[in-house]
């Protein structure tokens, strides 16, 4: 007799907890052939606002950690992800219509993205900051500082990228100490929620990363106009009304990174897109 498997309930990830959507709405997730896989939570405006509150609350503490500590937190994500490699491969096989080779490669690349950014956490400031030789008796230093709460749209539309996409967008945002609300791949959200389980069981403080499954077209207008959001990463926004989102973001002068084609590559620019340069002057005197 075959055993009946225990199916997972896919929920949102907000403030370190896994709530259902307050709206009660779900949407059906299927295989590319249309077979039922799961009912995912359809995040609402209220869920999105709750996620921003969680991200804002987590920001001072997370930004205040040492860079070494943040590097270890990111590395720990890679460790836990590696340990659950088979689970992610299996989910991708079911959801994304790709073979075992590409599925395994996607998970491996996602793990390596986390390792790459983990190693940058305590170095990027040395590259983008510097002392300034001003004309006067002053110590003068420019250093990067995280922008704040960043809302990101994972790459959409493509298939075979759901875990790598969310990793490539999220890792550079939290490397510098920002906190994030990230929208998963809309039609293939399972990897993102399983990834939330990785975050919940690694060392990432609650609220630093919040993951929503749902329609970017519904959620992003609220995020773009939200006064407590500092920046938008519209990586996966190209199929949406992203110019209108950018216009709404202008009202509070958010930093906005426009949509990208494909998966964003690893780069220093991806980190510095969401940092501010802070310059401190101090007088020099012997007495």
């Amino acid at each position: 007799m075959t055993r009946l498997s225990v199916a997972k309930t896919y929920k949102l990830y907000i403030g370190g907890k896994f709530p259902r959507s307050e709206s009660g709405h779900t949407y059906e997730v299927t295989t590319p052939q249309g077979a039922f896989l799961a009912n995912a939570s359809l995040a609402s405006r209220k869920d999105a606002r709750d996620a921003v509150v969680a991200a804002r609350s987590a920001f001072p503490g997370y930004a205040g950690l040492t860079s070494y500590n943040r590097g270890q937190i990111l590395y720990r994500i890679a460790e836990v992800l590696e340990g659950r490699r088979d689970q992610f491969v299996q989910e991708i096989l079911e959801s994304e219509g790709v073979g075992a080779g590409p599925a395994g490669k996607q998970v491996d690349e996602a793990i390596d993205v986390w390792v790459w950014y983990a190693g940058f956490a305590d170095k990027y400031a040395q590259i983008v900051g510097n002392g300034n030789p001003v004309s006067g008796p002053y110590f003068n230093l420019s250093t990067p500082d995280p922008t704040g709460v960043v809302v990101a749209v994972s790459p959409q539309g493509l298939t075979g990228t759901s875990l790598l996409g969310i990793s490539a967008v999220l890792a550079p945002i939290i490397t510098s100490g920002n906190t994030a609300v990230v929208l998963s791949h809309f039609s293939q959200p399972r990897s993102a929620i399983s990834f939330a389980e990785v975050l919940a069981t690694s060392d990432v403080p609650s609220g630093v990363v919040n993951i929503l499954t749902g329609d970017p077209a519904v959620i992003m207008p609220w995020m773009a106009s939200h006064a407590d959001v500092n920046a938008l990463d519209l990586a996966g926004g190209s199929d949406g009304d992203w110019v209108a989102w950018q216009q709404a973001a202008a009202e509070t002068l958010k930093r906005v990174v426009p949509p990208t084609t494909g998966i964003p590559g690893r780069s220093l620019d991806a980190i510095t897109a969401f940092v501010e340069t802070k310059t401190v002057w101090h007088t020099k005197a012997l007495g």
């Binding site: 704040g148 990208t260 401190v280 101090h282």
Partner: protein, 486 residues
């Protein structure tokens, strides 16, 4: 005469050789504008200094075309070292004509000659000298081995530091290999037009720098022009929002230096006499027309009365009057409109219950003036504690602990500047870490240098001007491709 009365010591205006009217500087020469001309007046006398042309949409297009031709045919093909030599030339000519520029700036803007002579114009020369040296070293700017210029930069500058803001914009743009169309503010066009003459004296190739005059409509036409690659704006946050919205969805790179409501934090262990001078330089420098002004004084509760007393005593000795007088500390407010805005917010402050003190100085009959003013009993919810006044008005609030000071300082949608006064270096650094502001002055205030990046967090705008970071605002990194992310 008591010992505090000084005999008048006005700087002579004979050094100026102004024309009765100026056209637009497009393609290397002065041409007539399509719009009507308007007067630039001296805010201290209300007399007309000269008249300037108003650039129409067609004029904007003409200027952008001139800049495009100069970019395609000359400037983008020239070696960095040759570009740099033009900038060094400009720096030297600014130094040679320093006194003339200082007098013109004081007349047109209303700020004291002491400031234009000792701060504005020397910094203009320094800015060109600093960026001149970058022109042939762009591969060392941290943007990869072969960073690329952007093309045509449209630049809009405000009236508070007219020529200095021009230098902040033009020097890095040209060093990076871009050509520019710059519009000075409608109330302070004079030194930008003199700068056009300096470009001619430096034999800068025609069209590399174009200066067009006009008001908001001219600026809007620049922002909306389809052939610009870069927009750099310094001015108010509402206009910054409009610009960001207009340029949403385009590939135009944007730098915005907007408003601020800087907190100047005084701890009880600070060197109080120095802090008093710093508070004054923080909010009464340039009549408070400074986006990074320390307009919110956060003073530790136990020294509040002492600090306010000493501050009022010191402020009463400041001399307000003729901007061209070498003894003047406080000049004229730049325009009638700005004076009305300051007056309105000060009335609101009184209405909301804050206690007003204004320096008992004599106010000249002609011109636009506002006596240095300090508000005490200010609450964080008061409009004078939240809105940028852009005038010589200080709002005093108190705190008990460093944590409270940080929370109050950060309680603003802006994030441009902050000040910290303490003799304890460890506390200074810990507080600086937590302040959400782009420029933090510790035991000093309102210091500027071409090597030092300047710019804000949040609604104070984005991008940096000055230093290596300021160069990045006018370049694409080596691996940049059209449609890519940064």
């Amino acid at each position: 005469m008591t010992f505090l009365d000084y005999a008048p010591a006005p700087e002579s205006t004979s050094i100026l050789n102004l024309k009765p009217s100026y056209g637009l500087f497009i393609g290397g020469e002065f041409v007539d504008g399509g719009g009507s001309s308007f007067a630039s007046i001296s805010p201290s006398t209300e007399k007309t200094i000269t008249t300037v042309a108003e650039a129409t949409e067609a004029d904007v297009d003409r200027a952008v075309k001139a800049a495009r031709v100069a970019y395609d045919t000359t400037w983008s093909k020239m070696s960095g070292s040759e570009r740099g030599k033009y900038l060094f030339r400009i720096a030297r000519i600014v130094q040679e004509r320093t006194r003339e520029l200082a007098v013109a700036e004081s007349m047109d803007n209303g700020k004291p000659i002491r400031e234009t002579r000792d701060v504005d114009i020397p910094l203009v020369a320094a800015w060109f000298f600093y960026y001149a040296g970058w022109a042939d070293k762009l591969e060392y700017a941290g943007l990869g081995p072969n960073p690329q210029s952007l093309g045509v930069a449209a630049q809009i500058v405000p009236w508070n530091f007219p020529l200095l803001m021009l230098a902040w914009k033009i020097a890095p743009a040209l060093a990076a290999g871009n050509t520019v169309v710059l519009k000075p503010a409608e109330t302070t066009p004079l030194t930008a037009l003199l700068f056009a003459e300096i470009c001619q004296q430096a034999q800068l190739p025609a069209g590399v720098v174009n200066i067009i005059t006009g008001a908001g409509a001219t600026g809007a036409a620049m922002v909306a022009h389809p052939d610009i690659n870069k927009l750099a704006f310094t001015g108010s946050t509402p206009v910054g929002r409009q610009i960001a919205s207009t340029l949403a969805g385009t590939n135009t790179k944007v730098t915005l230096e907007l408003g601020g409501k800087g907190a100047n934090i005084i701890f009880d262990d600070a060197a109080i006499d120095q802090a008093i001078e710093g508070i004054i330089s923080g909010i009464f420098f340039n009549q408070g027309h400074v986006c990074c002004a320390g307009s919110r004084l956060l003073v530790q509760e136990n020294i509040h009365d002492d600090v306010v007393n000493r501050l009022q005593n010191r402020l009463a000795t400041l001399r307000l009057g003729d901007p061209l007088d070498k003894n003047t500390d406080i000049g004229a407010v730049n325009s009638k409109a700005q004076l009305q805005r300051i007056t309105e917010l000060v009335n609101v402050g009184e209405g909301e219950g804050a206690t007003r003190w204004s320096s008992p100085c004599a106010i000249p009959e002609k011109g636009f003036w506002f006596a240095p003013t300090v508000f005490t009993d200010v609450h964080t919810s008061h409009r004078i504690a939240r809105e940028e006044i852009f005038g010589p008005v200080l709002s005093v609030l108190t705190f008990r602990t460093p944590e409270e000071a940080i929370a109050k300082a950060n309680n603003s949608p802006y994030g441009l500047s902050a000040g910290i006064w303490t003799e304890k270096a460890s506390r200074m650094l810990a507080v600086a870490d937590k302040l959400r502001a782009g420029v933090i002055w510790a035991n000093t205030f309102n210091k500027f240098d071409p090597a030092s990046p300047f710019g804000g967090y949040q609604e104070s705008g984005y991008g940096r001007e000055g230093g290596r970071h300021g160069l990045a605002a006018y370049l694409n990194s080596s691996d940049w491709k059209a449609g890519s992310r940064s």
